[in-house]
Structure formats: structure tokens, C-alpha cells
């Protein structure tokens, strides 16, 4: 049980609630009847933690690639490591996979320090390295079979082929596959030992939107099976679509971390309700009177900031009650793009560069 103290956004009343880690409860302010949502943060214990990274640092000459970062990945969640190219994503994930040696800091997987016990962990993880290409002249089936033979614990290869939707390609040589199929085989290869954690390093980079979406479905399927997924990406959409928890890495540092909702509420503008083509004079004043943060936008539109979704109804009732005239309304939630922009002052481009 966790105790959480919050301040009512409408009347500033201080309230205390109790809940379980990860629980989300609906609350009503006893003083002003404002409604809202409280999330109790997950706490990390050795039992529910898959990966724990503490004060990790990696220096190449003068370049600090990873700058003292710490974070935890909970079992069963899709953890997205989001950031532009060169931010330190791959360096970090490759340190966690024991491919690189850190300058300082520790990494624990299942509470085991990988600098000494990585061999014990190998059977329980599966990896898709960045820009991976498998052996060109083995078929899909042979490839999966080959990689599975190294492990004590083996998943049913035919089952993997089925879930990855590779049945019609299983006898094709790897080199004849399209980019999207190669990535799917890559993910399938990471599953041959039925691992508990799956590391996917930029699994959709270079894929067309359709192939990208296919990989997403695969990753979403892994989460549904209770696997922990560590995903690195520079695609905002990918993190929004897949991740339970997002860490934004920029110039070697984690600059923000949390669920999509948390990030958007904390660093974005939250949700904005647009009233299009509002022709009633002083409509803005009427809305502001009720305690809303609102402003006009050049073309006669009014933008109203919505702190939590229940307040949408309040705005609608103002519109109706005060007979305000307008063409239409829409609600737009701010996204990771805005979060990234407000955090770094730059945009993250399609190719992973900053603009």
C-alpha cells in the first residue's frame, strides 16, 4: 500500500489517498467536487525488476556516450528507450547485453550483476542486435533451428514460425527475404529459447510503414504473453504505440522517464480542446471565468487546455448553457513529439536526426 498526497487542481485542497503500486483510481474532491485520476507509481523490488541500471557511464576518449544514467525495467513491461541517433541508446543496450564494457556503473539483470554473472543470464534473454543480418544461405526454418540448438531451454520452432506469421516463408533462404521479413525473422531468432527479456535494438529502422506496423504487432503480442521487452527506437510513434514505460535519452543522459500519460502531462501541453470558428463575442471570457486556461487562435478558434478528461464535459456544458455559437470542436492530446520538443528545443526527425 502506497500513500499519495495531491493538491486538487480546481480548489487547491490538499488530499491524501492510498493504493497499490501501478493502481489507477478515480477520485472526487470533497470540497469542490472536481473529479480526477490518481496513479500510484510502481515501485521496484528485486522480484518484479527485470533490469536495473545504476550510474552507468561510457566514455570514448573525450566523448561521453553514456553519462551516469540509472533506470529500471519492470518484468512484463515494454520499455522504450527513445532518442535521436547518437544519443547513446545502442551503447547503453549493448552494455546491458554485455557486448560492451562500461567505464563505470553496474547493470543487474534478474538481480544478477552481469559483469560477473552474465553467463547465468544468457539462457533467459533473447537479442536482436542493431542492423542485424543472419546467415544468407540458410532458410528461415534452418536459421531458427540453428540458433535454438545453442540453448538448454528451447521454444517450439513451429510455434514461433506460426506466431511470427512466417509459415509461408519458412523454406526461403534468408537472403531472399524483404527487409520487414528479415526483421521478423530477427525477432523470431530472439525467441528461440523462450526468453523472459527480449532486447530489440531499433527493430523497425529502415522499414516501410507497413512492415514497421507488422513488427509492432509482433512486439505487442510479446507483451500480451507477459514478456519483458527492451526496445530502442527513434520513432516517437513506435514508443507511443508500444511502450508501457518510456525513457527519453538525449546526449547520453535520460532527460525524462515515465508512462506516455505521465510524460505528456508533465512535459506536453496535455489535451487541448479546439472550438472552431467561434462567432459569439466574449466566449473566451466566459470560458476563462470558469477557471479554464484558454486562448484564441488567429482564425477565430479558441483553444482550451484540458487537465483531465472529465473537464471536457464542463466545457461542453458552458458552450451549451451560454449559447456559444461555433462550427465544430475537436480534442487533441499532445504527443511525444511535443514532449521531446519542449525538453530539447529540437524535433526528432524520421531518420533519427535532430532538427
Amino acid at each position: 500500500m502506497i500513500k499519495k498526497t495531491v493538491r486538487c487542481p480546481s480548489c487547491d485542497n490538499v488530499l491524501t489517498f492510498f493504493g497499490e503500486p501501478g493502481q489507477v483510481i478515480k477520485v472526487t474532491c470533497p470540497k469542490c467536487s472536481a473529479e480526477g485520476k490518481i496513479t500510484f507509481e510502481k515501485t521496484y523490488t528485486p522480484e518484479n525488476t527485470a533490469i536495473q541500471v545504476s550510474d552507468l557511464r561510457k566514455v570514448y576518449g573525450d566523448l561521453v556516450a553514456v553519462d551516469d544514467i540509472s533506470f529500471s525495467v519492470k518484468k512484463g513491461e515494454v520499455f522504450a528507450f527513445l532518442g535521436p541517433n547518437g544519443a547513446g541508446k545502442t551503447t547503453t543496450v549493448e552494455i546491458i547485453e554485455s557486448i560492451r564494457t562500461p567505464t563505470a556503473g553496474t547493470v543487474k539483470i534478474f538481480d544478477r550483476d552481469i559483469s560477473t554473472s552474465f553467463n547465468e543470464v544468457k539462457e533467459r534473454i533473447g537479442i536482436l542486435p542493431q542492423e542485424f543480418h543472419s546467415f544468407e544461405r540458410l532458410t528461415v526454418r534452418e536459421t531458427l533451428d540453428y540458433f535454438s540448438k545453442f540453448y538448454k531451454k528451447r521454444a517450439d520452432i513451429d510455434e514461433i514460425i506460426k506466431t511470427m506469421d512466417l509459415t509461408s516463408h519458412k523454406d526461403m533462404l534468408y537472403k531472399t527475404l524483404s527487409g520487414g521479413l528479415k526483421q521478423r525473422v530477427g525477432v523470431a531468432m530472439a525467441l528461440v529459447n523462450d526468453p523472459e527479456i527480449i532486447f530489440l535494438d531499433e527493430p523497425t529502422t529502415g522499414l516501410d510503414p507497413k512492415a514497421r506496423r507488422e513488427v509492432w504487432e509482433v512486439v505487442a503480442g510479446l507483451r500480451n504473453k507477459g514478456k519483458t521487452v527492451f526496445l530502442t527506437t527513434h520513432y516517437m510513434e513506435e514508443a507511443e504505440y508500444l511502450a508501457d514505460h518510456i525513457a527519453i535519452i538525449h546526449k547520453g543522459k535520460i532527460i525524462a522517464e515515465g508512462s506516455l500519460d505521465e510524460l505528456v502531462n508533465k512535459y506536453g501541453q496535455g489535451s487541448i480542446l479546439h472550438i472552431k470558428n467561434c462567432s459569439t463575442k466574449d466566449a473566451l471570457g466566459m470560458i476563462r471565468e470558469r477557471g479554464f486556461d484558454a486562448h484564441t487562435e488567429g482564425n477565430g478558434d479558441i483553444a482550451v487546455k484540458i487537465d483531465y478528461k472529465e473537464r471536457v464535459l464542463e466545457v461542453l456544458s458552458i458552450l451549451r448553457h451560454d449559447c456559444i455559437e461555433y462550427d465544430s470542436i475537436d480534442i487533441r492530446r499532445s504527443n511525444l513529439e511535443e514532449v521531446f520538443l519542449s525538453l530539447t528545443g529540437s524535433k526528432l526527425g524520421e531518420e533519427g536526426g535532430e532538427a
Partner: protein, 368 residues
């Protein structure tokens, strides 16, 4: 170390190999083509000048005339050999293709032949069977002798020629060439195989993937070496069979030959690892491999005997590992000179240990 894992990788390597037309071509068809082409070319004639020492045991006016006739042939540079010289040893020391000995009684026999058409005398042609020039020299001498016989007797064989191989058996160029071809092919296979594993596999993430899997470096290296040995023996057998069937070679298979082939695989796999360590791009590493293996191929006596090269290149050849592989294989398979074969084998083993150990030590799986 788990033999099962080594076997799994070995089987996968073989599958990939026979599905790749490129590697099949380079490891099997290309060397066979070269044997056929070079065999055909060198059974013909060259046009260089050959040094021909002549030992005149007769020292008569007839023998002097004969030597003068040979001197007039532009292809020959005649040297006079003193009567005390051991001809075989001289050829070996000076790295010559052959030498001629005019026996005592040469002049007398010719003088007699004007009366008795049935007398005959043979000059002896000592030659190095490994030299592609020997047969050329001999054919020129034979045609001179034929001309003599026609002039002296209208066609009776008064002067004949006895072949005296310095090794004692009749060998020709293809006998020299085939072991060199084996050494060269195995070198190429192992260097490029090793380079592929250390550059392409690194770029493709396969080495990174292996690092995170329950396979040790020793298991991986052993699996790959097993495959390299397999390729080496397949190439050796294919080349040898063509040599026997097409060129009628006699080949001896023995332990020394097998040990040299095994050591050779380790030697050049090690060299490939060393190249792959310093040249990280696959294409550039392939070029570096070519830059090392091609000159080595020409300088180490693969296609033609060292004695046809200038002296400084001959001494340079002695530091090239492929030279000892070639010489060892020749002596073990063809000349059956087991002392020499053993000597070369030991040198190849030493090279193999040094290159392979350095290669393994230099090769890192981990990224920086």
C-alpha cells in the same frame, strides 16, 4: 566445450557452402580450371634463354664441334663444366633446369661410325624434373642430335640421349604445379573465410548475437576450423583427382601431406584473423587479403619454380609461409623426399602456431 554445438555450426556452414555458387567456384572449379590451363600452357615451349652447363669428358675435336653447334643456338647460354664437378649437385646448387654430359669416347664413336653404321654413343642430360624449362632444353638438344645423326649416317641413331633426373624419377611440370595449386587454393579459402567471419559477421551483428548466447569462443573457433579443414580436404581431393585423371600424375598420400594441409588451414585462418583485426571493412579486408596472398602466390613457387626468379626474390620467398607449404606438399606427395617434406612440415607447423595464436589473441568479439 560441447561437441554437439560444434557439429551444429559445422553442418550449417556446409549447407551455406554448397548453396553458394561463388564459394563453390573459388574452392573447387577455379583451381581445377587453373590446373587444366597451366598444364596445357607449360607442356608447350618458353622463349627465354636457358643456361646449359656442359661437361666434356671426351675433349676431342668432335665434342668441341658439338658444343659449338649448341652454342650457336640462341636459346642456350653454354657454360663449361670442369670434369671433376658432380653434375647433379651443380644443377641443384645453381638452381638450373639441366646439364649435358658428353661421355668419353664420344669422338671415337663418331669417327668409327663412318665405317660401321651400327655403333652408337649417348650424351647424358641431367635435369631437374620440377623445372618447367627442362623439357624445353631437352627437346632442343634432341633436335640438334637428330640433325647430327642425319648428317653423319643419313638417319641412324649414332648419338643418342640418356635422361638423368636429378631426383631419379621422371617428373614434369604438372607434378610440380599440382601441389602448388593445392597450397594456393587452401591459402585463399582459409584467408577469405577467416576475413568473412571477422568482418562481415561483425558488421551483420552475428558476432554480437553470439556474445549474448551460450556458446564460447573456443566452441565457435573450433567449429569454424572444422569447417575450414573440411573445405581444405575437399579442395585437395578434387585437385588431386583432376591431376591424376587428366595429367596422369602419380600421387602419394601420406601423413606428412595430411599434417601440412591441417597446419596450412590453421596458418592462413590465423593470417585472415590478423587481417580482419586491422582492416574492419569487409571489402577493404578482402583487398588486403588479395594484396597479401597474390604476391605470395607468385613469389612462393606456386606456378613456376623459384629458380626462374632473380636471386633476391628467391631469398625473399624463403620468408613466405606458402613456400614451405608448397615445397612440403611437393616433397610429400610427388618427389617422396621425406626428409625435405618433414623439414618443410615442421616450418609450416611453426608458422601455423604463431599465426593462429596471434590471430586468436587479436580477435575480439566484444565491441569497444
Amino acid at each position: 566445450m560441447r561437441p554437439k554445438i560444434i557439429l551444429v555450426d559445422f553442418v550449417a556452414s556446409i549447407k551455406s557452402w554448397y548453396r553458394s555458387r561463388g564459394t563453390l567456384f573459388w574452392s573447387l572449379l577455379f583451381p581445377i580450371m587453373l590446373i587444366l590451363i597451366f598444364g596445357a600452357i607449360f607442356s608447350g615451349v618458353g622463349d627465354t634463354k636457358y643456361t646449359l652447363p656442359i661437361q666434356d669428358l671426351d675433349n676431342s675435336s668432335w665434342s668441341h664441334t658439338f658444343i659449338d653447334t649448341l652454342s650457336n643456338i640462341s636459346a642456350f647460354k653454354i657454360e663449361n663444366l670442369s670434369v671433376n664437378e658432380n653434375v647433379s649437385a651443380y644443377i641443384k646448387d645453381k638452381n638450373l633446369a639441366g646439364a649435358l654430359v658428353i661421355p668419353k669416347g664420344f669422338g671415337d664413336t663418331i669417327a668409327k661410325s663412318f665405317i660401321d653404321k651400327n655403333v652408337s654413343v649417348n650424351v647424358s642430360f641431367y635435369y631437374d624434373p620440377s623445372s618447367s624449362s627442362a623439357s624445353v632444353i631437352q627437346s632442343v638438344i634432341s633436335s640438334v642430335l637428330q640433325e647430327y645423326n642425319v648428317k653423319l649416317s643419313g638417319g641412324n641413331s649414332i648419338i643418342g640421349i640418356t635422361q638423368m633426373s636429378t631426383i631419379g624419377k621422371n617428373f614434369n611440370y604438372i607434378d610440380f604445379f599440382v601441389p602448388g595449386m593445392i597450397g594456393f587454393t587452401l591459402m585463399q579459402t582459409c584467408i577469405y573465410g577467416s576475413i568473412e567471419r571477422n568482418t562481415k559477421y561483425r558488421k551483420d551483428g552475428i558476432l554480437r548475437k553470439l556474445l549474448t548466447m551460450p556458446i564460447t569462443r573456443t566452441e565457435w573457433i573450433l567449429a569454424k576450423m572444422l569447417f575450414m579443414l573440411f573445405l581444405s580436404f575437399v579442395s585437395t581431393v578434387a585437385i588431386t583427382i583432376v591431376g591424376i585423371l587428366v595429367w596422369g600424375m602419380t600421387v602419394n598420400v601420406n601423413l606428412i601431406m595430411i599434417v601440412i594441409i591441417i597446419a596450412n588451414s590453421f596458418l592462413f585462418s590465423g593470417l585472415g584473423m590478423i587481417i580482419g583485426r586491422f582492416v574492419k571493412e569487409e571489402e577493404t579486408a578482402d583487398m588486403a587479403g588479395g594484396a597479401i596472398s597474390f604476391p605470395m602466390m607468385f613469389l612462393a613457387g606456386t606456378f613456376f619454380p623459384l629458380e626462374q626468379m632473380p636471386a633476391f626474390l628467391q631469398s625473399f620467398a624463403k620468408i613466405l609461409p606458402l613456400y614451405y607449404v608448397n615445397e612440403g606438399l611437393r616433397n610429400a606427395m610427388i618427389y617422396l623426399d621425406f626428409d625435405k617434406a618433414m623439414f618443410n612440415m615442421i616450418i609450416v607447423i611453426v608458422f601455423a602456431v604463431v599465426f593462429f595464436v596471434i590471430g586468436v589473441l587479436l580477435t575480439k568479439w566484444k565491441e569497444d
